[in-house]
């Protein structure tokens, strides 16, 4: 079965995110006063051929920890969108 899997990679808490800060400031300048913080990350979409959803999830997790995310600075979440 083919699963469409999203891997969301974001910076760990406490890691400086100058891009997020700059975007947050820009939004404030545009009048988004209610935006009190912004951070950046990325999403990878993987098409995975697997027997079960659990298996697809596992493969995506392995891909994330081995390559897509740098565990020193980033964490990841896996989401199945079918």
């Amino acid at each position: 079965m083919r699963f469409s899997v999203s891997v969301r990679v974001v910076l760990k808490d406490g890691v400086l995110d100058p891009q997020g800060e700059t975007i947050g400031r820009a939004l404030k300048d545009l009048g988004f006063d209610s935006v009190i913080g912004a951070s950046t990350g990325r999403i990878f979409r993987l098409d995975i051929d697997a027997e079960t959803e659990a298996q697809a999830r596992k493969i995506a997790g392995e891909a994330a920890s081995k390559l897509l995310a740098n565990p020193v600075i980033e964490r990841y979440e896996v989401e199945i969108s079918k």
């Binding site: 400086l16 100058p18 700059t22 740098n70 020193v72």
Partner: protein
């Protein structure tokens, strides 16, 4: 004394590194292709600066899985001397040979300029020829050079003398203004605990001839070579 300079697709300081090590008497330098699995007997392996694999994903993230890196990791783990400069430093952290990570510069800009480095440990293979209090001048050229490491590891790095260079002002004082990229504790270069793997963002290989504005980098290149040639490394 055999030096191997690894060439990745996108390396652009490989020729500079080659020329820099060529300046050392008795050194033979060769290029090592990223697709090869043979270090050709190199006693020092240099991972040069550049944009290996276009810096796709993260700087150094793809290069780390190239065939030659398997051999470089084995070589380093068995005590072999590895020097990573700029992108080479990024590859070394990505491959786990050095702690921490290199992040997008604090100011978000690509920075290309001369910096002053304070040498924090003159008792290493890379810095042995440097007199204490000698400041080094050499260029940085990077977009992702902000050194980051978790607090616990940082404390250990500092305690064990693994921090080799810090960005400093012209008087050698480590200030926030002298920090070009937001690196923690102004760190510009480190080594591993064992003292055989070195990583730095500034470019010693681009400052080995006075016509280029500084030859301070040659001190590091020569130091490394003389320490290895002097048989200080028993392998």
């Amino acid at each position: 004394m055999k030096v191997g300079v690894v060439v990745f697709p996108g390396s652009n300081c490989d020729h500079d590194a080659y020329s820099a090590f060529k300046l050392v008497k008795g050194a033979t330098v060769s290029y090592l292709w990223h697709g090869s699995q043979d270090l050709e007997g190199a006693e020092i392996v240099v991972l040069p600066g550049g944009f290996s694999y276009g810096d796709y994903l993260r700087a150094g993230a793809i290069a780390r899985f190239s065939p030659i890196m398997k051999k470089v990791v084995e070589f380093a783990r068995s005590g072999g001397i590895v020097l990573g400069i700029c992108n080479g430093f990024q590859i070394l952290t990505e491959s786990g040979l050095l702690p921490g990570a290199l992040m997008r510069n604090g100011g978000l800009r690509f920075i290309c300029k001369q910096v002053i480095l304070r040498v924090e440990n003159c008792g290493t293979l890379l810095t042995a020829d440097i007199e204490p209090d000698r400041l080094l001048r050499m260029p940085v050229a990077h977009g992702e050079g902000g050194y980051f490491v978790d607090d616990a590891t940082l404390i250990n790095l500092e305690k064990r003398g693994q921090v080799l260079f810090r960005y400093a002002d012209a008087e050698g004082v480590v200030t926030a203004n002298a920090n070009p990229n937001g690196s923690v504790n102004n760190i510009a270069g480190i080594m591993n605990i064992e003292g055989n793997v070195f990583g730095m963002m500034p470019h010693p290989e681009r400052s080995c001839e006075s016509i280029l504005g500084s030859n301070d980098g040659l001190l590091l290149v020569k130091s490394l070579c003389s320490q290895v040639a002097g048989g200080i490394i028993a392998r």
